[in-house]
Amino acid sequence: MKKTIQIPLGSQHIALLEPIKFRFECENEKIIAVDSDVGFVHRGVERACATKFSFDSVPYVVARICGLCAITHSLASTMAIESLMEGEVSPKANYLRILLVELDRIHSHLLCLAHVSENAGYEAMFMRIMGDREPIMELLELITGNRVQFDYVCIGGVNRDIDSRIVATTQTTLNTLKSKIQEYIAEFSSNWSLALKYKNIGTLSLEDAYRYNAIGPLARATGLATDVRSSSKLLPYDEVGFKIVVGESGDIYARNMVRLQEILNSIEMCRNIVEGLPEGEILTPFKGKPQGKRLQDSKPLEES
């Protein structure tokens, strides 16, 4: 006789934010396997980029794939287009790009930590973290003019410069945030709901992370030292004080710790950037249209 029961969830369900389908294999109260299907949303962004928009509009289109990581998509496509064209981005623009990416990482990690504590049943922590995330969003609005869709990166550099007032606001905001993060580290490592509940839960082993090509904090929490910031030399990350953060156990607790330590490292990098920003142009014009056939002679990223 079959001992497990299957529980389907989705593709439309009131608890799901986006259409996704799960099939849980349950043994009494315990979930022993899960099957997922995520292919329910097709927005046709690739097709639209290939047919409807010219190459210099594509960064603005792909930025709208995701509201939380708006800068990463547009930065990746911009740098891909720039590598097909002749010209060089000024050092100042590169540093400003890192500044934006790292501020974006801070608020994205804070959002993730807030939801992790909410799912542990610690709603007060969710409120606190979201409240502390707000100054970062305001800082991003001050730099780019918009809270979510930054539209900051363009082919040849960045769209807006920062002045002394923004530098001062950045420093005070990051100083306040740093002390809060220290509190969070204490809370996430000693509080029962957050630390003990999450130890040995959702463990991903180092071998599995390597086999399934895990990336991001998920991979680094298992001890796999993979980070695009250190493996690619497209942005001068080694000049602004980037340190790779690696966890050990690969469970949710380790992921939280990796995220918190990465926020501290990002704060350090942002401070280094605003303090030592070089003089120069923020926008260098790129002439002409991108040359094709780049994909054929591109090399895979070196092993880290």
Binding site: S54, E141, T144, G145, N146, Q149, D151, C154, N159
Partner: protein, 121 residues
């Protein structure tokens, strides 16, 4: 730690804004409405080419303006509902701040008309 925070929060001002009653603070770098100065425009159509969502379109018209640069009798139409306020048009403009600039005004939803509605009128 937890008790201290809970007591502190009882006497703290709320972090949220009483939004419809209180106005939202606007940053000095606010990305607002794109505004157009017809008299200074040289009708190079660079803004139309730069605009990612095609919010700026120069349409042929029967009643062109008195601007001598307007040789093809075009009319500037701007759709604030399509606009993503990126500012590409202003950066492409050869006469920024005179012919085309980004103001700190908000678009008015009531008066914004789509191209289809304009064609119907």
């Amino acid at each position: 730690m937890g008790i201290k925070n809970a007591l502190f929060n009882l006497f703290k001002k709320p972090q949220t804004l009483n939004y419809p009653l209180e106005a939202l603070p606007r940053t000095p770098n606010y990305r607002g409405l794109i505004e157009y100065g017809e008299a200074e425009c040289i009708y190079c159509l660079k803004c139309q080419k730069a605009c990612p969502p095609e919010a700026i379109i120069f349409e042929p018209t029967q009643h062109p303006t008195a601007n001598p640069k307007n040789k093809k009798s075009l009319e500037y139409t701007y759709n604030s509902l399509l606009c993503i306020y990126c500012g590409e048009c202003v950066r492409a403009c050869p006469k920024p701040n005179e012919a085309l600039w980004q103001s700190d005004k908000k678009p008015s939803v009531q008066t914004a008309k789509t191209h289809q509605q304009k064609a119907r009128d």
